[in-house]
Each structure stands twice: as C-alpha cells, then as structure tokens.
C-alpha cells in the first residue's frame, strides 16, 4: 500500500498546473511581441533617464553641501520626505501641472531616486580618511582637484551602491506609471488586474512582474560591470 499516496497526486497536480501556466504565460508573451517590446523599452527608458539624472543631481547636491552641515541635513530631510509620500499620490499630484503620461511619472520617480544616491554620496564623502585629504591639500591640490582626484574616487564605491538601490527602487515603482498613462511594464499588471478572473488576466500580471524582475537583474548586472570597471583595485 502506498501510504503517501494522498500527497503524490496533489504534488503532481500542482507541478502539472504550474507547467500549464508557464506554457500559457509563454504563449501570452509570444502572442504580443510588439506590445512587450514597447513596454520593456518604456520601462527601461524611465529607469535609465531617471536614475541617470537623479544620480547626477544627487551627487551634485552631495558635493555642493559637503562643507555645510545645515545644507546637507536639509537636503537629506527633503529627500526623505519624497520617499515617504505614498507613490500613488506622488504620481498623481503633478498631473495638473504637466498632464498625463511620461512627465508626471518621470517627476515622481526622479524624486524617489534622490534619497538613496544623496544619502550614499554624503556618507561616501564623509568617510574619506581626513589624513588623505590633509596630504592632498598639503601637496598643493586645489579644492577642485581634491574633489575630482581624491574625494569622489574614494567615495565612488559607496555612491555606486546608492545608485544601485535607486535603480532597483525605480524598476519596481515605475510599474505605477501605468496609472497616469505613463506606459511601461505596469500596463500588463494593470490590465490583468482589471480583467481578473478572465482568461489571460493572471498571465498578464505575471508577465509584467517577471519582466520587471528580469529587467532589474539585467541592469544590476550592468552596474556590476560598471563597478568593476570604475573602482580602483586599491580600494576594492
């Protein structure tokens, strides 16, 4: 007599259902290649533009406030406020100003991405060994040279870690852009949700989610390559 007989069939059933679901997910994906391609492209555009600009902006703020405790704390506080506003609200409050579509989403994502990079820029610059700065100044490097040749390179690993966090954050939250007609992979999730429990609704939700994960993974890989290429062996 097979004692575990009651378990095995349900296990098999589950595996079978999973395989069937993956099959139909795959079919769903193959059925709309252009839609998928466009959504990925829109999503990627958000991530690249937002993370790029927000990083540049935040590093600049971190650099400009490096000798001014008050300005630094103030900008960190403002950055924190952005991150605490519910994302649904942040995406919608700019609609009256810039309309629907790309711009309200861009602004919201930009504001979200500030804090991780700013926080890490500040930390990275703060943790540079003061004796290294003393030596640099003592040798006759100007303030700009100290910044570009010593402070930023030494803070770079920490800054880059912040950029990575901002990227992951943006990949996830960019899915909300769909609610303000901003496109992206969120489109699949939204349309799936709206059609539940109709056929292909779950497939749509899962496709959006998995493509977000895949995108995050690929971008992260890219950032790792960037890290290896831009961080000196001496501080790795």
């Amino acid at each position: 007599m097979d004692v575990g007989g009651g378990f095995a069939p349900s296990h098999i059933t589950f595996t079978k259902e999973l395989m069937e679901f993956i099959g139909s997910l795959w079919e769903f994906l193959l059925g709309r290649p252009e839609q998928v391609r466009d959504a990925i492209f829109e999503h990627l555009l958000y991530v690249v533009v937002v993370v790029g600009l927000a990083s540049a902006f935040s590093i600049m703020i971190g650099v400009l406030t490096r000798y001014n405790v008050f300005a630094r704390e103030l900008s960190l506080a403002i950055g924190s406020v952005f991150l605490t506003i519910p994302s649904l609200a942040l995406f919608t409050i700019f609609i009256p100003l810039v309309g629907l579509g790309f711009w309200p989403s861009f602004i919201a994502l930009f504001l979200y991405a500030i804090l991780p990079v700013l926080r890490n820029t500040v930390t990275g610059l703060e943790q540079v060994d003061p004796s290294v700065l003393e030596a640099a100044k003592g040798m006759g490097l100007t303030n700009t040279e100290v910044l570009l040749r010593v402070q930023l390179p030494l803070a770079w690993p920490v800054i880059l870690a912040g950029v990575r966090i901002a990227t992951m954050l943006t990949v996830g939250i960019a899915a909300i852009a769909t609610l303000v007609a901003g496109g992206g992979l969120g489109d699949f999730i939204k349309s799936g949700l709206a059609r539940l429990p109709l056929p292909n609704s779950l497939e749509s939700i899962w496709l959006g989610t998995l493509l977000c994960l895949l995108l995050a993974f690929v971008i992260d890989l890219g950032l790792k390559v960037l890290k290896t290429a831009t961080i000196s062996r001496g501080i790795r």
Partner: protein, 377 residues
Amino acid sequence: MTDDVLIRLEDVTKQYGGTEEPAVNSLTLEVIRGEVLVLVGPSGCGKSTTLRLINRLIEPSSGKLFLDGEDVTSINASMLRRKIGYVIQQVGLFPHRTIAENIATVPKLLGWDKKKIDERVDELLEVVSMDPKTYRERYPKELSGGQAQRVGVARALAADPDVLLMDEPFGAIDPITRDRLQNEFLRLQQDLKKTIVFVTHDIDEAIKMGNRIAILREGSEIAQLDTPEAILADPADEFVENFLGSGAILKSLTLAKIKDLELHQVPVLKAPVMRDKALETLQESEDSTAILLDKDDKPLRWLDQSALNRTSQPIEKSGRPITVDLQPEDTLQDALTVMLQSSTGLAAVTDRKGTYLGCATIESLANLIVSGQGSKN
C-alpha cells in the same frame, strides 16, 4: 648673521574663533637653508599649527610668511604648497592610486611629461630603499607602516622641493623600524641637503634629527632655540630642563656618529686562512680577539685564542658570528647597543657597502664623550 634664511615667519599669530589664548602667539622663526629644524614641545603647544602655517594649510590671523626672501603670505596657497614637500604621521597615501601614481602626484600637477615622471618615480623608490619593480604597481593597502611612510617621503620629494615639512613622520611606526627610518633619513638628508622643518613630541628624536631644535611651550612660544649640543649642555630654563628629562649624557650619544669615533684595529684574518697563521697573528697582537673577513672584506666572525685552538671545527665556523655591523652614519647609541650585546665588547664598523673599516670599542666611546664634555666646559 650671514646665514641664508629660507623660511621666515614674522610675528605670526593664529587665533581661533571662540578661544581666548591664540594657538600661535606672535611667533618669529627663521629656518636656515639646508638645516633640519626640529620643533619639539608638549602636546598642545602649537608645534603642528606652526608647521601648517608654513605651507598655509592654516592661514595666519596676522603676521607674514617669507619663502626665499619672497613674501608668500597671500600668494595662491596651492601653488606655494607644490614647492613644499609635506609628510604627515598618518602618511595619507591615496588608497585608490598605485605607489607610482602616488609619488607622481605633484609632478603630474606641474605638468611633467610621462617619461620624466616614470624615471623620477623609479629614482625616488630607490632613494627610499624600495625596489621599483616590486612596488611601482602596488597599492597602499599592500604596504607595511614603515613602507608606507617611505613612499610618503618619496611622494613629498617628488618634485624636488627645497623645503620639506614633516609632522611626526615616524610617530606611528614601531620603535625598531622608526630607528632604521630615522637613520636612513639622516643619511638621505646628507645627500639631499633639503631645508626641513620637523615636528615631534619626542625629545630623543629631536636631538637625533635636528641641526637646531626649537623647544616650544604653550602658544608656540620658543623656550629655547639652539643646537642640540648647546641645549643639552645649557638648558635655558626649568621648562627646558624638565622637558629634556634625565640622562642628558645618554641622550648626547644620539648626537655623535660612529664616524666621529677613532676606530680600533684588531688583527684581521682573511678567509680562507690557515689555523697556524691565524694563531700566529693573534699572538703577535695585543688584542685577544681577531676578526675574520670574507673575500669581499665583509666581517664574518670574532675569533679568539680558544676558538682557534678548537680544531674540531673549520675556522669559518669557529668563534662567534658577527650578526650586526655598524656604519659610519649610525649613532653612538647604536654602537653602545651593539657592543653591549656582543660577547667581545666590540662592534664591527663597515662602510655602506659592507666593507670592514675597524672596530668601535667601549674605550673609544668613553674617550669621545669625555672629550666632548671637556670642550663644552
């Protein structure tokens, strides 16, 4: 005074906001070209502040700064600093740059071409006794504390500045390495003849390193400024006396060099040597110990009568090995240490290449101290 003054601080005061007493109070100080001037004093006396006033890492509240006769109080500070080497206790090497890149910092700022920089880096690594091939491409984290400070010194010397400012450069290094670095540095300075301002809190280091010593008290006020010999012989006041501490004679041992000693010549045996010949040589001399040299005249062993009579061993393995030899630039304190450790009471002296010159003995040491004392009184 016909001395060539290279650095002159004129009535310089540094007052920090929120404090009553200035860190440096109306200090006038002259540094003569080619000398090592040591600023020494208790912590908080303002010696580091004074040093940093010279390269204007600290800007004076009032007063003037002259370099080579030129008023540099308000010229571009970065340009001034490129002409002044700066070495600090924590070294402050750039961790993200290789040793070669670290050393090349100032030459690069000055726009030297790459080939000249490369040659200079190799030259400097050799000057500080580090093999260029081994160390050029390494990173600071791969160096020991002593090696890091050698690179620190090389980096400060890179653009061949006339002036070197050193803020407790050997303060964070273990005593044995420190001693070696000090000796090497003194040897280096003989060739380089830089004008050096050296800050330390260690009076022994001050006596050893300085051509002149400025003993500072609170507010960077000069308690006494003179040669180490003069300060040891005649402290200006109680503060200086207390600061010097006890054992002035022992301290004066760090002042004189082995080259000041009259070396004693013991019988010399050159390997390979016959036992009979060796015994004969030793018996003809008044000394009880002979020295065995190898074919390049490098000291090998001390041999005495009983060692030579012990026929069970070849001559090259008899007697006692000579493990440490002294060089003319080492101090008498080093000599005393070696003698006390040696069973014979002798210390072999060689030149820098290791060629035997003669022996330092307790008698020769005592003679020098007595005559030195005599000349001062």
